[in-house]
């Protein structure tokens, strides 16, 4: 087989793979949409049939009753500020770890953090937060989000920094640039693909956090998106149509963020690493 034919074949294989996975992803998502736009009565009779009447007002009801606007605003605030600190603190901490083996013990100290079940930290953490008067404050939850997620961020960054040739920074240092300026102007821009990964991965966990917010931000005005959605879950009966409508509304902002990120990151990512 010629190289050209192989390329064609691999393109076909790609298209097929994407199509199959898309189907696998979409079927369960379709059920979610059905549960939101069908009435509970219709859903009870047959969850998979085409809706006889679209209950669009469910979305409006979910939006209003759960005060989703407030939830989205609070979640966006917590997620974006935590992300900012995660990227700044994580990237800079990963740099010495990736470059010099003497920091290996520190690396393993951080790494051990990925492996701890959160419940293990819960009670002493609550006492600590109370001591610092951080309960029912946004900054308190941001501290915890950053602390809990940092190990994974450092793990990701240090892995990728190792793959970057250190000649670049040596040259810059010889040119008289300070180490901090060198890092933020030369190394950090090369980490764009990892930064995008870090942002995407942490959006998944922070946007979906339920338990930390429940424990440390119980006040109604401060409720995050996930807590707002849970207001439709009862001890025995849950309002499934409202829950699903709220879930759909809740992922839309993040889909927009992902689409925006895609554009930014795909442009000119390649090439940068070896330009110097």
């Amino acid at each position: 087989m010629s190289v050209k034919a192989q390329l064609l074949a691999s393109r076909l294989a790609s298209a097929l793979t994407v199509a199959l996975w898309a189907l696998f992803v979409v079927i369960p998502l379709a059920i979610m949409v059905m549960a939101a736009i069908k009435s509970p009565a219709e859903m009870a009779v047959n969850p998979f049939s085409w809706p006889q009447a679209f209950q669009w007002q469910t979305f409006q009801k979910a939006w209003e009753e759960a005060a989703l606007a407030r939830g989205i605003r609070n979640s966006l605030l917590l997620t974006s500020i935590s992300l900012l600190f995660l990227v700044l603190f994580g990237a800079s901490a990963a740099y010495p770890i990736a470059r010099r083996t003497r920091w290996a013990p520190v690396f393993y100290f951080f790494l051990a953090g990925i492996m701890v079940p959160f419940q293990l930290a819960m009670l002493p953490l609550y006492r600590l937060m109370k001591l610092f008067s951080l309960i029912n404050t946004y900054q308190g939850v941001i501290f915890i989000y950053v602390a809990v997620s940092l190990p994974m961020v450092i793990f990701l960054y240090s892995g990728f920094i190792k793959g970057i040739n250190s000649e670049l920074e040596d040259a810059a240092l010889v040119d008289g640039a300070g180490p901090f300026r060198m890092f933020w102007t030369i190394i950090f821009p090369l980490l764009k693909p990892v930064t995008s990964t870090v942002i995407i991965m942490n959006i998944m966990s922070l946007w979906n956090d339920f338990f930390i917010a429940l424990l440390f931000l119980p006040k109604k005005e401060m409720r995050t998106l996930q807590l707002s959605i849970f207001s439709f879950k009862g001890q025995y009966n849950s309002k499934l149509n409202l829950i699903m409508a709220a879930v759909i509304l809740s992922i839309l902002p993040m889909v927009i963020v992902f689409l925006a990120l895609q554009k930014q990151f795909v442009q000119g990512i390649a090439g940068g690493a070896v330009k110097g």
Binding site: F110, G113, F258
Partner: protein
Amino acid sequence: MGLRNATWTNNTRLRTLITDALFLLPAFVVFAVFFAYPVISSFYFSLTKWDGINPELKFIGLANFQKLMGDRHFWTALRNTFRYAILVTVIQNVLGLILALAVTSKVYRGFRVLFLVPPLLSSIAIGSIWSYMYAPNGAVNSLLTLAGLEGLAQDWLGNPRLALYSLVVANIWKWTGMAMIIYLAGIQAIPKTIHEAASIDGVDVWQRFRHVTFPLIAPAFTINVVLSMIGSLKVFDIIYIMTQGGPGRATESITTYIFSRAFEANKFGYGTAIAVVMFAIILALSLIQLHFLTRREVRA
């Protein structure tokens, strides 16, 4: 000359040490105060008989750990957890890598975002969706019937021999998009020039993947394998919301067992002891994994 040179290097050494420390400081302080300290101080609970609320803690030494060795439910949970983690780690990485290679072209930008929707869903949505998928007359069985494969229809979550594997599929559905995006970051970091050079040389597609792409995404591979292994060893949400460890104990994992001991049976001390053991197991496995994976990276 020699003397001056020595002080010069000593100075730079000290300077790098200080700047390194400054690079590390913010992360270290936040992590140490808000996570490491609470975790380490809660290790003490594992040495007590305690219901989780009473101001009086009874110190009992290593008795909890001793009891753990003879607790067959703990071993069931451990076996389930390992089975789950191995399957998830292998399948998620193979599929994630295949998907990442498939969506490399910009044409599939929209699909990449679609594949990232399942990881965005909260556990309450996942639980309801997959409950409809797996119900006795749910989507999976209906699709099998449509395809003329009624014989394969199963009680996916009700059959204790199948339930764990059904959960693995739901886990893969949720998280493969994430594995994909990490591999994609690795692939995109490969300079185009290398691929171009390779295609000019007339290297075939498989050789290009085997000798050019794969070695260059080795760091992504390490990260993905370690993260999916740790993530699946710590699995809680998906199991708790879909089966609560049932039927019986067929899908009980270490974390659901910790939860039921500490908060349902009021045995907080014992629950913490299980968590400490789990932490030790994950730590050991990760170190072994990292050792082999990073060695492979260097060789490549």
